[in-house]
C-alpha cells in the first residue's frame, strides 16, 4: 500500500538479519527504497517544489527545500564573500563570513513560503494535483545566523532610516525594500540551515531571513544592505509581488503570509484501500505568529471538528496537525481550516475571491479540499 513516503523498488536481501551489514560511511544516504524528490518547474527551471505528501513532522530535509530564483543559483566563494552595510548608518561596514559567524548566533525554526504558492488552488482546479504541486513552494528549516538587530547596532543605524534595501549577489542582483522595524524585530542574516551551511539554492553562504514574510523578501546570497528614509521601488516590489485588487488598486509591500493549511494525507495520488480508521494529517502555518487551532471537515465544510496540533507549535513555523477519521467507504470531501493567534481564520475560496478579485496575484491562502471517491481514490478539489 502506498501511504506517505514514496516507496520504490530496490534490491534487498530476503533475510537481512542473516547477513553482515554494510560498513560505516563518511556521508549518509537515504534508504534505497525512499524516492524523495522535488518537482522542477517553470520555463527556465526557476522553481522546484517540496514533496509535502511524503514528509513527516515539520522540518523539510534541506535537499528538498523548495526553490524560487529569478536569475539562477550563483556559485559564491565563501572566502571572497562580503556583506556591505551602508547608507544611513554611522559606520559603513563590510562583514566577511567569519565576522558574521563570530557574532552570537541565534537558531529558530521558521517556514518560508513563496507568495505565489498555491495559485492553482485559486484558479486552476486540476484534480490530478498532489500537495507538492498545489502548495510545494513552502518548507520549514531550523535557521541559524546573526540577529539583524545586532548588525544594526554594530553599524549604528541612523534613527531616521525607515527602510533598507536587501540585495542579493545573484545574476539579477535581486533586491527588495524592507522596513527597518522588521530588522529590529526578528530578522536575521542566516548562514546555516538544519545544522549545516546553507544549500547553494537557499542562498549560500548567507541570506536574509524575515520570519513569516513572503519568500521573495528573504533575499538569498545577500550582499548589500542599504539604509534609507524611503523604499526603493525595485522591480520585484512593483511589477511583481504586488496584489491587484477588485477596486482598481494594487496592494504593495504585502509582506506577511496569512494563516493557511493543507491536508497532506489523504491527498492525490494516495488512495484509501479500505474503510476504517485513517490518520488525516497536514501542515498549518501563519506569518503572524502561532497556529492556535486547525479544524477538519469531512463533509465539504458543512461541519468542522478540531484537529490535534502536534508539538512543537512554534511561531511563524509549520505546525503538524492530525485528525483520526473513520472512513465509512462513502464519498467524502476533506478540508482543513487554520486559525492563528490574531484570531484570523483561513478563508474559503469565495471569501478570498470577494476580497481580492479573480485576477489578483500572490497570497492564495484559501481553504483546500480533497475529494475521496467511493473507491478510495483521492483527487484535488471538491470533486463533482
Amino acid at each position: 500500500m502506498l501511504r506517505r513516503g514514496a516507496l520504490g523498488q530496490a534490491a534487498t536481501p530476503s533475510a537481512p538479519s542473516r547477513q553482515l551489514g554494510a560498513s560505516a560511511t563518511a556521508l549518509g544516504a537515504r534508504a534505497p527504497n525512499e524516492r524523495l524528490a522535488r518537482v522542477v518547474g517553470g520555463t527556465l527551471h526557476e522553481i522546484s517544489l517540496t514533496p509535502l505528501q511524503d514528509l513527516h513532522g515539520i522540518v523539510t530535509p534541506s535537499d528538498l527545500h523548495y526553490e524560487r530564483h529569478h536569475a539562477g543559483v550563483p556559485r559564491i566563494d565563501p572566502h571572497a564573500y562580503k556583506l556591505l552595510v551602508h547608507g544611513m548608518v554611522d559606520r559603513p561596514t563590510v562583514f566577511d563570513l567569519s565576522a558574521l559567524r563570530r557574532f552570537p548566533a541565534v537558531s529558530r525554526f521558521h517556514f518560508l513560503e513563496c507568495s505565489g504558492n498555491g495559485e492553482s488552488a485559486y484558479r486552476n482546479m486540476r484534480r490530478d494535483q498532489s500537495p507538492q504541486l498545489v502548495d510545494g513552494l513552502t518548507s520549514t528549516s531550523e535557521w541559524t545566523g546573526v540577529s539583524l538587530a545586532t548588525l544594526l547596532r554594530e553599524v549604528g543605524v541612523n534613527p531616521r532610516a525607515t527602510w533598507f534595501l536587501a540585495e542579493g549577489g545573484d545574476a539579477g542582483l535581486m533586491a527588495r525594500s524592507i522596513p527597518v522595524a522588521k530588522a529590529w524585530d526578528d530578522a536575521m542574516i542566516a548562514y546555516s540551515q538544519n545544522g549545516e551551511a546553507l544549500r547553494p539554492e537557499q542562498g549560500y553562504p548567507a541570506r536574509l531571513l524575515l520570519p513569516g514574510w513572503e519568500g521573495n523578501t528573504n533575499v538569498k546570497w545577500i550582499r548589500r544592505l542599504e539604509f534609507a528614509d524611503r523604499p526603493f521601488m525595485t522591480r520585484d516590489e512593483t511589477s511583481k509581488y504586488t496584489d491587484p485588487l477588485p477596486n482598481g488598486t494594487a496592494r504593495m509591500f504585502s509582506f506577511v503570509m496569512d494563516a493557511k493549511s493543507i491536508i497532506t494525507f489523504p491527498a492525490y495520488p494516495a488512495t484509501l484501500p479500505d474503510r476504517g480508521w485513517w490518520d488525516v494529517t497536514g501542515l498549518a502555518w501563519s506569518g503572524r505568529g502561532r497556529i492556535t487551532r486547525v479544524e477538519v471537515s469531512t463533509d465539504g465544510g458543512t461541519t468542522w471538528s478540531s484537529a490535534v496540533l502536534e508539538q512543537p507549535v512554534l511561531s511563524k513555523c509549520h505546525t503538524r496537525f492530525c485528525f483520526p477519521w473513520k472512513w465509512n467507504g462513502r464519498e467524502a470531501v476533506l478540508m482543513s481550516r487554520a486559525t492563528d493567534e490574531t484570531g484570523y481564520v483561513q478563508p474559503t475560496l469565495a471569501q478570498l475571491r470577494a476580497a481580492r478579485g479573480a485576477g489578483t496575484r500572490y497570497h492564495f491562502n484559501n481553504i483546500r479540499a480533497w475529494h475521496i471517491a467511493g473507491d478510495g481514490s483521492v483527487t484535488f478539489g471538491v470533486g463533482g
Binding site: 553599524v155 533586491a175 494594487a250 504593495m252 479573480a358
Partner: protein, 193 residues
C-alpha cells in the same frame, strides 16, 4: 573551633561570597558593539551601490533617446522579448490597457507591462541595469541603458519620440499606473482583506 562555630564561619563565608558567585554565573550583557567587520571603503560602496530611487538618487551621468534604444533593443533584447517588446518568448514589456479603472484585480488574463502596471519610471533603469540582458547582466553602459529606457517608455506611449532620458528627466516621467498602488492594509484578526 567547635563544629557549630566552624559551620557558622563557613555560612558567613558563603554569604559573603554568594553575591559574587551569582554575578559570575550570569552571562555578560551584550556590548554596544562587538567591533567585528571592517570599515567599507568609498570605492567599495561606489562600485556595489547600483540602486536607483524614484527621486533619481543613484542615476549616473549619461543619456539616450528612443531611436538609439531601438537599435540596441533589436540587437540585445528582441530575441527574448520580441521585436517590439510584445511578442516574447519572455516577459511582455510593452502594452497599454485601453479599459478604464485598472482592471487587473478583476481580469486574470491581463498581462502586466511597463506601460500598464509599473508605477515608477526609475525602476526601468534600475532593473535593466541589475538584471538584463538575462544571460549577460552588467554588460550595458549607462548611455545604452538610458536609451533602452527611452525606447521602452516610447513604445508604451509615455514619452515623445525625441525625449532624452537622463538623470534629470527620467525621475520626472509620470507613469500611467502611478496612483494605483496602496499599502498593505491586512493586519490579522477576523477580517479577510
Amino acid at each position: 573551633m567547635t563544629r557549630a562555630a566552624m559551620l557558622r564561619t563557613a555560612l558567613v563565608a558563603v554569604a559573603a561570597v554568594a553575591p559574587i558567585h551569582v554575578r559570575r554565573n550570569e552571562p555578560p550583557g551584550p556590548p554596544a558593539r562587538y567591533g567585528l567587520g571592517r570599515p567599507a571603503t568609498a570605492e567599495e560602496v561606489r562600485s556595489w551601490d547600483v540602486s536607483v530611487m524614484p527621486n533619481g538618487n543613484g542615476l549616473p551621468t549619461g543619456g539616450g533617446t528612443a531611436v538609439q534604444g531601438a537599435a540596441i533593443f533589436r540587437q540585445t533584447c528582441a530575441r527574448c522579448h520580441g521585436p517590439t517588446g510584445v511578442e516574447g518568448p519572455f516577459d511582455r514589456l510593452v502594452g497599454r490597457e485601453p479599459r478604464q479603472g485598472f482592471p487587473f484585480g478583476r481580469d486574470a488574463s491581463l498581462v502586466r507591462t511597463i506601460g500598464n502596471y509599473w508605477p515608477y519610471s526609475t525602476t526601468v533603469y534600475d532593473y535593466i541595469h541589475r538584471a538584463m540582458p538575462y544571460d549577460a547582466p552588467g554588460s550595458l553602459k549607462p548611455n545604452e541603458i538610458y536609451s533602452l529606457v527611452a525606447f521602452l517608455l516610447r513604445r508604451n506611449e509615455i514619452i515623445a519620440d525625441t525625449a532624452v532620458m537622463n538623470a534629470r528627466t527620467l525621475p520626472g516621467v509620470r507613469m500611467p499606473a502611478r496612483d494605483r498602488f496602496v499599502l498593505d492594509n491586512r493586519h490579522g484578526g477576523r477580517e479577510i482583506r
